[in-house]
Subunit: 295 residues, 4 copies
């Protein structure tokens, strides 16, 4: 059994396979054999076994012939050949296809500027179909970077309706994932269910310390000597989703709440952009409300 | 008004003044003037104002004449001259007097080894009158370093009695402060009241995340990407006392709970020994369940 | 002797005094007394003594009456009263006066974007009279942020002339200090002498390791496990000026030179912006090719 | 072709395979297949390709039957089966065999204490046949931990002879690798050639900055804001061998040279012990004066 996906031609393209299955003997040999046996060239392999839960995770980057019959065809053959035998769940991506990332913001501009600068310079390999906000404060930044801006105010009264509009926008633009770049609204259950593990938030504390509103104020009150930031996938429980990336920095009694906020901005920028890079590179795998993050 | 404490003689000694008072104009000028006017030489000055609560803090190291009439005499004169006027609370220490530090341990040896190595090399300027434990596991380490070891098992039945023995030991040895170097027992209210802000604990999480037992297990369950350690003064509320020092390190999905524990040991060693250094140098001031830590 | 600078009126303004002198007894008392005696209110005081070289440094923030006779008048009185006696060198600044900062760039945009975002949000309290570049690549960014852009190509032939034009621009715009935000040209001795300790560079290594060109390549060759960035004042010796701020991050064998460069960009952003904040707040004092940096 | 090493029995043991070869297609499949085909169970796999030099590296931990015919037998079969075809260089280790580690020290005790505490607690899985020193200062520490201590003074006159004695001791005790825990003597070319990539040094700077003697003094002179420590394999060029692990910490103008040294001690402890852990776990592979360090 072989697919023509790997038939050697002049040019090659790269694909990424992300998979997991119950841990079992021979799984690595089976996958590497299959790719090798079909003229694929493994460029990078990452694997991990959660021994407590006996789950096997693997991410493989490989080069394949340019003119194959398509990802879907390959996936079907792969599953027929070894997927079913090993109960594999697998996703396959073309490395040069840019995912579509929607940005939700409110009034804070530091994460937005940071993301747009990385996007502009090519450091962040995505398309940004639009920026959405419940306020008008950051409209001019969107304009500066020539990105469509949608103003969608949210109040108690129109919350349901506003979410319907959000969903419509996301679907019309075929958005792949959403970034809450300090978007100060709680995302509805309905929207989360449409984008499971595809909504990335930046929370301004080292979770699980200080979930919810005003974490810098709480950190100041408690007299901590470190503050942090956490990027995680949004789940229905507030600030309790799978953590992608965290970082911390030192503070002292000299620092006011405003200093906490200013230092925190640098943390938030770094942590969120790192999480986005990892997500875009398909290096994050979610299970049991935790993440496997290949480096 | 002047005291002879500062009269220049051949040799000088160093003292440290630690004070706080309601914030008010002229306090720095008054203190520096007083010392200067009495032939003292200010070596180092640290000051901080909590503007929210209008409290002024200062720590001054200065050189004074060797043959003065004593710390108590100086303190009396200082208070008569400016202390009362500014409502100053003040403590004065001779820099070369070694504080007496009691060590409470249970079964983990990493913090104990680290402290004893620093003590032995002179890095930690204290006397260690004794090591106390509710277990016998670390007795041989105490013997290796020629430090008296008291085995004081604690059970539900004898808890009251055991604490009385602890207190007696502490008082007999004129202990200045106590270090809980992974001592796995909760300290009683009574003992805490005898040593307010003089019992230093190391907790193996970045508080306020994961207080109480088994924080590394909880951190693993939550899937955090950083773990931490916190050194704090013990108060009646568990793991909620004023924080002296914290630090964190990165972990990943690759790390098992045992890895968390191993990485944590390095954090605990560094954080606790830093907190001890700061406490011994009289650089930590406590108020409103927070600390001012001069550097 | 007193000046009317401190006469209490309805409103107050803040000034910052930055001074140094040979270390001597009573200097702190003299300065704090003078300010207190003239109705000034000390808000923050930082002091440091280099005991090896016997130099005293102090930075004082204080509140003074709004309608004083001006900084220059105050300075004169201060010098007459105590400055001469203690051989003080002193600079005095009005806290709410924005310094004028010129930006020199070439082709890399990451530091430029970062600085402009912080400028735009008010986080960086400066005026930016212009951006100057030897290339046209970043012109559109300047336009996006509505900041004048000067294109001044530099070649071996026109170097002298180009520098004259730079100097003219700087003087016309009354520039206070210059930031080399990855400006890929060596600054001439002449320009440096016009702006001593006022030209801030970001170098992409942890100096003194890897000075000069292509430090990330050299770091990769050497197989280091950490890379760094250094912000320093420009002096005539290349990459050897007084260091303001440094930071490092971990790398591994997995990281290619491109990864080093990408990780380095985040370091450069953070290190340069921190150095700018410190410089703007007058917290950096230079002597003997080193810096005192108050926190 | 199969070996009986993998024949399933009641109990299993773990072995670690460390290999490298010219990069080529199918190598991962070949190795994993071989192990799988011989009833081995791959527990952990790490792989890396240096694309610049086209070298493939792999480290595999796997479980094999307890009663196999021995490592050497397995190695022979492995090489016959696939080793020659792929030009593999391979080392194979029994995971539960403790390597013999000799400690060379001079007068500083902090690294020695740290290593011995980790050794004593089982954190560092080695045997320590002896501690060797050119001074007597640390003899009592060796005695405290019941480890043989050899005093071997080194002078210009007896250097050759002293090295012969060192070599004899090392060989008599079948030492696997040597740790220079702040041993203040330069190791001779002859000794290095007997233990290539098996002598681990801790240098008290972030190399390549400040090689040679008194790096903390040089760092202080230069006015750096970070100091570091580096653990590396010893080669003939001083402080220029392959780097295993590095770390840094912040310093400021407040820190004297003594403070640098004290802060550095904590770095040295952490960096050296991390390097030892990595070496003992066979996670460090050396080529072209650089290291691949699996995590």
């Amino acid at each position: 059994m072989r697919t023509d996906i790997f038939v050697k031609k002049n040019t090659m393209k790269r694909i990424t396979l992300v998979m997991n299955c119950p841990d079992q003997k021979g799984i690595i040999a089976a996958v590497t054999n299959y790719i090798h046996g079909n003229n694929g060239n493994i460029v990078y392999i990452d694997q991990y076994v959660d021994r407590v839960n006996s789950i096997f995770f693997m991410r493989v980057e490989c080069e394949i012939a340019e003119n194959h019959q398509g990802i879907e065809h390959f996936k079907t053959n792969f599953i027929d050949s070894i997927g079913n035998e090993f109960q594999l769940e697998i996703d396959i991506y073309l490395n040069n296809a840019l995912p579509k990332m929607a940005l939700f913001v409110s009034k804070y501009d530091h994460c937005l500027y940071d993301i747009l600068a990385r996007y502009q310079s090519g450091e962040l390999a995505v398309e940004i179909p639009f920026i959405l906000s419940n306020h008008l404060d950051l409209k001019n930044i969107a304009e500066r970077f020539d990105i469509p801006f949608y103003h969608l105010p949210v109040s108690k009264e129109n919350k349901k309706e506003a979410e319907q509009k959000q969903l419509k926008l996301l679907q019309e633009h075929q958005v792949d994932f959403i970034v809450l770049a300090r978007y100060m609204q709680i995302i509805s259950k309905d929207l989360i269910q449409h984008y499971p593990n595809k909504i990335i938030n930046i929370h301004h504390s080292f979770l699980p310390a200080f979930p919810g509103a005003k974490p810098y104020h709480s950190a100041y009150e408690r007299g901590v000597k470190i503050i942090g930031a956490t990027s995680h996938y949004v789940t229905e429980e507030l600030d309790a989703g799978p953590i992608i990336e965290q970082n911390t920095t030192h503070v002292s009694h000299l620092n006011s709440i405003d200093d906490f906020i200013a230092k925190g901005r640098d943390l938030e920028r770094i942590v969120l952009s790192k999480a986005l890079q990892l997500h875009v590179a398909r290096k994050v795998m979610v299970y049991q409300n935790k993440t496997v993050v290949f480096s």
